[in-house]
Amino acid sequence: MDLAVEIGSLKLKNPVMTASGTFGYGEEYSEFLDLNMLGAVVVKGISLKPMEGNPPPRICETPCGMLNAIGLHNIGLKRFLKEKLPYLRQFDTKIIVNILGNTIQEYVRLSKALDDAGVDAIELNVSCPNVKKGGIIFGTDKRALSRLVLKVKQSAGKRVIITKLSPNVSDITEFAIAAEESGSDALSLINTLRGMAIDIDTQKPKLANITGGLSGPAIKPIAIRMVWEASQSVRIPVIGIGGIINAQDAIEFMLAGATAIQVGTANFINPMATIEIIHGIRSYSEGKNIDNIRDIIGRIHGTAGHNNINL
């Protein structure tokens, strides 16, 4: 049973990663699982300077999902490199750093520093919906996205660059293609969908930030559709994210076209979710006599001749 997959030049022992912002800096989970078992750890989005984040309440539950408006609360590049990276380096897993900036220049500086620090890959968060002047414009403007990816590739070209796409667009394939053409080594999708909830008793929004990002099982059907569309429109590997709770969900994403997957909200409910998913993928493959997990990627039947690019 071979579970190894490749994201560009990055070889993962298995297709299961953690989604940014849901796994802290790895440490928070070390009592629950052996980090060595993971395909990769993607850490909380890092910005050049530390960020305070949004005022509380920052999260609320919704049917089969949750809204978050953390506002990219993070310790900043410097402290990450000094305090968090050395810890993660102890483990035999890949380290992927999710980054965000307000300008291309900020992304470039972050990427350079992380390239120098020798992280395994950089994931560009161009789609966080919670920051006013944040990366959001890159996520919903094709040309801005292209420029960003191009510049980051030029300055940190050795590293595997993963572009994390926003689902808040009409046609995900345009953004997938734009990222690929600008040199992105892989795509990851989806980030959260913008949502909102109101407490009818107090008549106030449930989040201080009013809107937040929707994650969890509720969004899985949208994520599966986008992964399917994106993976058919590009040649670079696609990493599937959105509502993955168990191995069945992970396999659904791989059948839809994902080379690897990221587990997000599920880590909160079951801190051992990633490990259970790895075991579950193995059992599924054994049950279906699949020797190599790569054989199921995009192997959904009955879709031949369907033109998925048109809406």
């Binding site: 849901t22 928070e28 009592e31 305070e52 509380p56 999260i59 539950e61 949750m66 969890g216 409910i269």
Partner: protein, 257 residues
């Protein structure tokens, strides 16, 4: 030790129309909790509700952990229907818990409503060495009265509608006590938990009287163990996670809004 464990429902007793006493037996080895720490408890059998719910522990034996919960919304309504034998997943003990007072300090325990649940394990530990001020809206909402009386502390109970004990809010009762016991101010320490407006009142009493103390805070939580950054409160040194740096904070550190 892994704080994520499975537990079996041993008993789920309805105390009154809105409160249940839940006894769980951990099926994996479970760590000993400190007073004021809490657990994240799975509320349903599906993805709705999705998140675990935070609850303080009430009592712990070698075999079981006991919780007292108020039926509030979706999750606790489902929890009310937990049947004996059901197996659920739990994470805990979580958070910091109440720091114990130094010998010479007299603890003043100030509880509003379900805040008593969080403070009960502390009172239990401190035994009769403390003053307990406990307020609720009315008699029906008072919890654990027998147990508190058995512990033999100096107990002052009050209800807003005067249906039991003194009349008034627990902060008023505390103020009265402090006026009548000037001398205690220099040697006491406040521990408080309850609804936000009450906590603010207690904070301002503590500030004006120059008394130090600890407050246990509540915020919506997704993980409970520091991973999501969802549960922050504002403090004089910035946002702090209730689930990890709290739920107990020095009372003077909280920035109320």
């Amino acid at each position: 030790m892994n704080r994520y464990f499975k537990a079996k429902v041993i008993e789920n007793l309805s105390l009154n129309s809105s409160h249940n006493l839940l006894t769980l037996e951990p099926l994996d080895p479970a760590a000993e909790p400190n007073p004021g720490q809490f657990y994240m408890i799975e509320a349903g059998d599906s993805y709705d509700p999705l998140l675990k719910r935070p609850f303080c522990w009430l009592q712990k034996t070698r075999e079981t952990i006991q919780f007292l919960f108020r039926i509030k919304g979706k999750g606790t309504s489902l929890m009310r229907a937990f049947k004996k034998g059901k197996v659920i997943s739990v994470i805990g003990p979580l958070g910091n818990g109440y720091p114990l007072p130094r010998k010479k300090r007299t603890p003043l325990i100030v509880a509003g409503g379900t805040g008593i649940i969080s403070l009960f394990s502390l009172i239990n530990k401190l035994s009769h060495n403390c003053h307990v001020f406990y307020g609720a809206r009315n008699k029906d909402e008072l919890l654990l009265l027998n147990e508190l009386e058995k512990l033999g502390n100096k107990l002052i109970v009050c209800t807003n509608d005067c249906s039991f004990g003194k009349e008034g809010m627990v902060n008023e009762v505390l103020s009265q006590f402090l006026s009548a016991n000037e001398s205690i101010k220099t040697s006491c320490l406040i521990y408080t938990c309850g609804p936000k407006p009450m906590l603010q009142e207690i904070t301002s009493i503590a500030f004006h009287e120059g008394i130090r103390g600890y407050v246990s805070m509540e915020e919506n939580m997704a993980c409970g163990f520091g991973a999501c950054q969802g549960c922050v409160v504002n403090t004089i040194s910035g946002y702090k996670k209730v689930c990890k740096e709290g739920p107990v904070f020095p009372i003077e550190d909280i920035v109320w809004t």
